[in-house]
Each structure stands twice: as structure tokens, then as C-alpha cells.
């Protein structure tokens, strides 16, 4: 029983960060329909921003998170302006190839700048965990969960309750009509990509100190983000959040009670099942066809 409780606590902590990864990508992949292969690299770069701010500049740990968000936002805007805008009317394959190229180039860039040796970030949290009966959890992970929850709520309101969010949803539902209604479509494209990217960077900045920071850390994160987005339904923020927790639960229980060798396979088994049973994702509203 105590082992099961520990697995549940692990799931909550892991799920929060998966959810954060998922909502960033669901904005870009789900709403903008761009197969964003740079998501994982932006996650990595967010973690390296954390490393620079805390370890190299010696500044405050809590300051690093907003810095990472701003850097992620700016990088996202640059990627959109330089690579996606000129390709607005190209087919999805072309965009995908360009994004794969950007991913490889940016990842090699991180390897070139920081080398392959993993970096770690010192945190202000105590090393001894919080022990609640049979369950223990590190203070750092609790902070990450709280910060992720905050970012998820902010994003939810941004998309569903603000004018900018309304314009985003309108733009990607019907580009031309939104444009005729006076929406600055170019600006919306750039800001959506920038917001999605800043969330990836935030996830990296939060998880970098939990794990270690190295150039390929984003690869697995990106694969999981895609899985979560598909699980939750494209463009569905609530779906991405729930998808994140479901993936974390499947991994925890899969590794705990089935076989740890198949831990990362568990999530994908669920996705295969979801794609067979409900191809639009678990939480997608029924859509009008045609």
C-alpha cells in the first residue's frame, strides 16, 4: 500500500510537468497545425538558461524562471518570423522538414556551446525530502508542481478568457475570416508560437534542476509532449493537462507493477489504444465535419 501511495505521489509530480510540456505543444501543433520539432530544443534551452542564470551568473534561482520564459518567447518569435512566416502557404511536409532542420541545428548548437557533459543546477531547497508517513517527496519537486500548476492556469485563462486568446482561436479556425474581422493574423501567428515556445522553455527551466542538463534532454521530452497532445486531443488545453497526468500514471504503474523495461512503452501503448478507439483524442469535443 505504501508503495502504491508513493507511486501516486510520483505520478502527481511527474504529471504536472508533462502537462506543462503538453499545453505548450498543443498550442503550436494542435492550434497552429505546425509539427513543431523545435519544442524539445526549446525545452533544453530553457534548462540552459536556468544553468546560466544560477550557476554562471550566480543570480537568484527564482529569477531564472521568468528569464527562461522570456528567452523562450523571444526564440519562438524568431523561429516563427524567420522560418514559418515565409512558409505560411507551403504544405505541411515542407514545414516539417524545415522544423526538423531547425531542431538538429539548434541541438548541435547547444552541444557546441556547452559540450556533452551534463550540467546540474544548485537549488535553494533542502536536500532532505518532505516525509509524510510512508511517502516522501523532494521540496524541489513540490515547487515544480506548484509552478507548473500556476503556468497551466495562466495559459488556460490566456487562451480562453482574453481577447488575444479569442483572436488566436479565431485565426486558426478560419484564417481569412479572422483577417476580415480585423485580426492581425501575422501577429497572432507569431504570438501563438512564442507563447507555446515560452511554455516549453519554462518546463525545461523547471525540470533542468530536477534532472541534469544536457543537449539531448529535450528529445524524450518532445516525444512525450507529442504523445500527450495526441492523447488529449489537438489544441485542447484541458485535454493536454489530463493527458499529462494519464501518461505519468501509466508510466508509474507500468514500471511499478508490470515491468520497468517497458516504462516508456506504456504511454505509447495507451496512445495506440486511443488512436484506435477515439482518433481525435480522449477529450476532443465532437467536431463538425465539412
Amino acid at each position: 500500500m505504501s508503495e502504491f501511495l508513493q507511486h501516486l505521489v510520483n505520478m502527481l509530480v511527474l504529471g504536472g510537468t508533462y502537462a506543462l510540456l503538453g499545453i505548450g505543444l498543443t498550442l503550436i501543433f494542435g492550434i497552429m497545425n505546425v509539427v513543431n520539432f523545435t519544442h524539445g530544443v526549446l525545452y533544453t534551452l530553457g534548462a540552459y538558461v536556468m544553468f546560466i542564470v544560477v550557476q554562471e551568473l550566480g543570480l537568484n534561482f527564482f529569477l531564472a524562471l521568468p528569464v527562461a520564459i522570456v528567452v523562450g518567447w523571444a526564440l519562438g518569435a524568431i523561429i516563427e518570423l524567420t522560418m514559418l512566416r515565409p512558409l505560411r502557404d507551403s504544405d505541411i511536409d515542407t514545414t516539417m522538414l524545415v522544423m526538423i532542420g531547425a531542431w538538429i541545428a539548434m541541438q548541435s548548437g547547444t552541444l557546441w556551446i556547452w559540450g556533452g557533459v551534463a550540467k546540474s543546477v544548485a537549488t535553494p531547497f533542502p536536500e532532505q525530502p518532505l516525509v509524510l508517513g510512508p511517502v516522501s517527496v523532494s521540496w524541489l519537486r513540490l515547487f515544480v508542481l506548484a509552478a507548473a500548476a500556476l503556468l497551466i492556469v495562466v495559459t488556460y485563462f490566456l487562451i480562453n478568457r482574453t481577447k488575444l486568446g479569442g483572436a488566436m482561436r479565431a485565426t486558426f479556425q478560419d484564417h481569412d475570416t479572422a483577417s476580415l474581422m480585423g485580426v492581425n493574423v501575422d501577429l497572432i501567428n507569431t504570438s501563438t508560437f512564442a507563447v507555446g515556445s515560452s511554455l516549453a522553455a519554462a518546463a525545461g527551466a523547471l525540470l533542468g534542476p530536477v534532472y541534469v542538463i544536457f543537449p539531448q534532454m529535450g528529445d524524450l521530452a518532445a516525444v512525450k509532449a507529442f504523445a500527450i497532445v495526441i492523447l488529449g486531443g489537438l489544441g485542447n488545453i484541458t485535454g493536454a493537462v489530463l493527458g499529462g497526468f494519464i501518461l505519468a500514471l501509466a508510466e508509474e504503474l507500468g514500471a511499478g507493477y508490470v515491468s520497468s523495461g517497458y516504462r516508456d512503452a506504456m504511454g505509447f501503448l495507451i496512445i495506440i489504444a486511443v488512436l484506435i478507439v477515439k482518433p481525435t483524442g480522449l477529450f476532443a469535443r465532437s467536431e463538425r465535419v465539412g
Binding site: 505504501s2 508503495e3 508513493q6 507511486h7 510520483n10 511527474l14 548541435s108 552541444l111 559540450g115 556533452g116 557533459v117 551534463a118 550540467k119 546540474s120 544548485a122 536536500e127 532532505q128 525530502p129 516525509v131 516522501s136 517527496v137 523532494s138 524541489l140 519537486r141 534532472y211 541534469v212 544536457f214 543537449p215 539531448q216 534532454m217 528529445d219 524524450l220 508510466e251 508509474e252 507500468g254 514500471a255 511499478g256 515491468s259 520497468s260 523495461g261 516504462r263 516508456d264
Partner: protein, 384 residues
């Protein structure tokens, strides 16, 4: 247009001929290491160690009157790439001998290519038993396979008072091989083997496995993986309140990096290592060790890398010694010469003994294995 094409091809041809003649004056040694991907850090250390050996040999006049030239290729921590790199090194660069490929899965992927092109390879890091027991006569390994490690550990376990041990190993040939070899040795010693958990090569969160291990009644946890995952495991074990004795195997632990990155979580952990850069006077060939460490420092590399890089240094010296003994840079002659070399390695004399099925034995040297312990952020020899 035609004349331009003609001129360009002339230049290309001239360059090819020129580089051909330059190449003829050096003896090439292929280096097949992971310089990107999951094992980038370790592979890069090994390559840097290899370069020190090449520079040292060349400064002393090279071998057979020629300079040696390392042809270094990145296998991207990927077995498919490792096999492709081996093929490229043999067919395009015409290297008569290679060193590689760090990980066991990478080396195993390369092995059929060695048979196909009949080219010998010095294996510097991989520790899966299969490498020297599958009947590949082109393999000459200077790192200890997990069976040798297990035998070395056998003499120590009594003093550690082991009763029941769980395993957490990387899910590849290296990790599973270690769990098997150590498990067999434990059974002989009457030590109970509890859980055997695995983790993927790139996995970053091992909390699920560690939670399960926390619930078991073993007092010891044997962990086999590379340094980055070890750091994560120590941190996550502390966060979960796991209070078992942790012993790591495999020789890729890089204790200095663990101390720097895992902090207090590393205290009390023990590690089976194959090199003692912290205590050069206790190594089998102290003078060689001191030279290597001073050269490593002179080049501005991180001291923490020594536990990996010495294998690249020894590997190239082994290949060079075989070429010298062979008297010519040809694969068959080098392969034959491997059996009669005696290199003063940093971790014991490198003399190959036969291993594997009769008639097609691989070479295996007998490196030393040491147990060290981290306490208060410092490395000490475990006194027993």
C-alpha cells in the same frame, strides 16, 4: 561550361591524389566513439585520451618510422551508426585497426563488420560478456567484462556482509549482462538476488523503479549505468528516502562528476572502478599514470574525465604496439601481433588471453578492479 566542369574535376583529382600521398606517410587508426547522443560526454573523454596517446607516440617519432593519424568518427551513441562508422573507416579510410565503440550495444553492432572486412578492433570500454565469448577473433578487449568485475567483487562481498541485493541496470547488453554475471556470483556466495529493475538508456526519471526498490527487503542496491543516470538515481533515491547501500559497477561512474552534481546524495555510495587517478601511486604503472594525468591537466580538460579517458589512451597505445610488432600496417598482421604485445597500461599490463569458442577466440586482458567509496564529498579507497 564544359571547360569549367573539366577544370573542377582536374582539381578534385589532383586533390585526391595529393591527399592520397599525404595519407601514405601516416598510419591510420580508426576511432569509433559516441561524441553526440546519450554517451557524448564519455565518448569525448575517450577521444581526448586517444589524442594524448597519438601525440605522445608521434612526439617520440611515431611507429615504423611513420606518424600515426587518428581518424575519429562519431557513432552518435547509436548502434546502427556505429556499424556504419566502422564500415566507413575500413572501406573509405582504409584503417588497418580500430578502437571502439564505448557502449556494449555499439560494439556488438560493429562486430559483424569486423568479421566481414577482417579488421581487428581494440575494445576500450564495453563490458558485456558476449563481446569476447561469441567467437569473434577480431576483438581485443582491454576493459573488464562484467564477469571479471563480478569475480573481483567476489573477494570483497564477504567483508561487505551482503545478504540480499536488488539490481537497477540500464536496459541494454551492458546492464542486463551485469545483472546476469553478478547475479550468478551472488548465488554462488549464498546472497539472495531480489528485484532486477531496468531503465531506458535516455530515461531521466527513475522514481518508479526506486519506489519499488524502496519497498523491498534488500539491504543493498547494485546499479549499473553511465554517470548521468547515476547522478539522477542518487538524487531521486534521496528524495524518496531510499536508505539502502548503493554499489555501482561498470567503470563509467566518473565519481568526481557524481560528487559535483549529486552533492550530499552521493555520500555513502560505493563504486567498482577500473582506474585510480586520485591515487596514482597505487596504480600498477604509477609513472605512466602520472604522465597521463599531467598531460590531461595541461590540455585544460576536466579532471573528472580521467576515469573515462585513460581507456582511450591505453586503447591507442595497444593498437600502436600491435602495429609496431606486426612490422606493417596491415589488418591480418596486426591481428596476429595483438597476441604477443605487452603494454604497460594505466590499469595493469595489457596482455591478451584467449576467450570464447576454440579456434575463433577473442583477446581479453585482465585489468584491475577497485572499490572506492564517497564520503563527505571525497573519494577514498574502501578499506576492508
Amino acid at each position: 561550361m564544359r571547360s569549367t566542369v573539366g577544370r573542377v574535376s582536374m582539381i578534385a583529382l589532383a586533390l585526391a591524389l595529393l591527399s592520397g600521398t599525404v595519407g601514405a606517410e601516416t598510419i591510420k587508426i580508426g576511432v569509433n566513439e559516441p561524441m553526440t547522443g546519450a554517451f557524448a560526454a564519455s565518448g569525448t573523454y575517450v577521444v581526448n585520451g586517444a589524442k594524448i596517446a597519438a601525440d605522445e607516440i608521434n612526439a617520440k617519432g611515431g611507429i615504423l618510422g611513420k606518424q600515426i593519424e587518428l581518424v575519429i568518427e562519431d557513432n552518435k551513441s547509436n548502434p546502427t551508426e556505429a556499424a556504419a562508422v566502422a564500415e566507413k573507416l575500413i572501406t573509405r579510410d582504409k584503417v588497418p585497426v580500430m578502437m571502439g565503440a564505448w557502449g556494449s550495444s555499439l560494439t556488438l553492432a560493429v562486430m559483424p563488420k569486423l568479421m566481414e572486412y577482417e579488421t581487428p578492433m581494440v575494445v576500450e570500454t564495453s563490458s558485456s560478456g558476449k563481446i569476447t565469448t561469441s567467437g569473434n577473433p577480431f576483438i581485443f578487449r582491454i576493459s573488464p567484462p562484467s564477469a571479471i568485475e563480478a569475480v573481483a567483487f567476489k573477494g570483497i562481498v564477504d567483508k561487505l556482509n551482503l545478504k540480499k541485493a536488488d539490481f537497477l541496470v540500464i536496459n541494454n547488453d551492458w546492464g542486463r549482462g551485469t545483472a546476469e554475471d553478478f547475479g550468478m556470483m551472488f548465488k554462488e556466495k549464498g546472497i539472495v538476488v531480489g528485484l532486477v529493475e531496468t531503465m531506458d538508456q535516455g530515461a531521466q526519471d527513475m522514481s518508479a523503479q526506486l519506489s519499488k526498490i524502496k519497498g523491498s527487503d534488500s539491504e543493498t542496491l547494485i546499479v549499473t549505468t553511465a554517470v548521468d543516470q547515476l547522478t539522477l538515481i542518487f538524487k531521486q533515491a534521496t528524495a524518496l528516502g531510499l536508505k539502502k547501500r548503493i554499489i555501482t559497477t561498470g567503470g563509467s561512474q566518473n565519481p568526481d562528476q557524481i560528487i559535483a552534481q549529486a552533492g550530499a546524495a552521493a555520500n555513502g555510495t560505493m563504486h567498482l572502478t577500473t582506474f585510480l587517478p586520485w591515487f596514482p601511486e597505487k596504480t600498477p604503472n604509477p609513472k605512466a599514470t602520472e604522465y597521463f594525468i599531467s598531460e590531461w591537466r595541461k590540455r585544460g580538460f576536466d579532471f573528472a574525465g580521467c576515469t573515462e579517458s585513460f581507456r582511450g589512451y591505453d586503447g591507442i597505445r595497444t593498437a600502436a604496439a600491435a602495429i609496431e610488432k606486426a612490422g606493417r600496417a596491415e589488418p591480418a598482421a596486426i591481428k596476429a601481433a595483438m597476441w604477443s604485445i605487452d603494454v604497460k597500461g594505466l590499469n595493469g599490463d595489457i596482455i591478451f588471453k584467449k576467450s570464447g569458442p576454440e579456434g575463433k577466440e577473442s583477446g581479453q586482458s585482465q585489468p584491475n578492479v577497485y572499490l572506492i567509496e564517497i564520503n563527505d564529498g571525497k573519494i577514498g579507497m574502501k578499506t576492508l
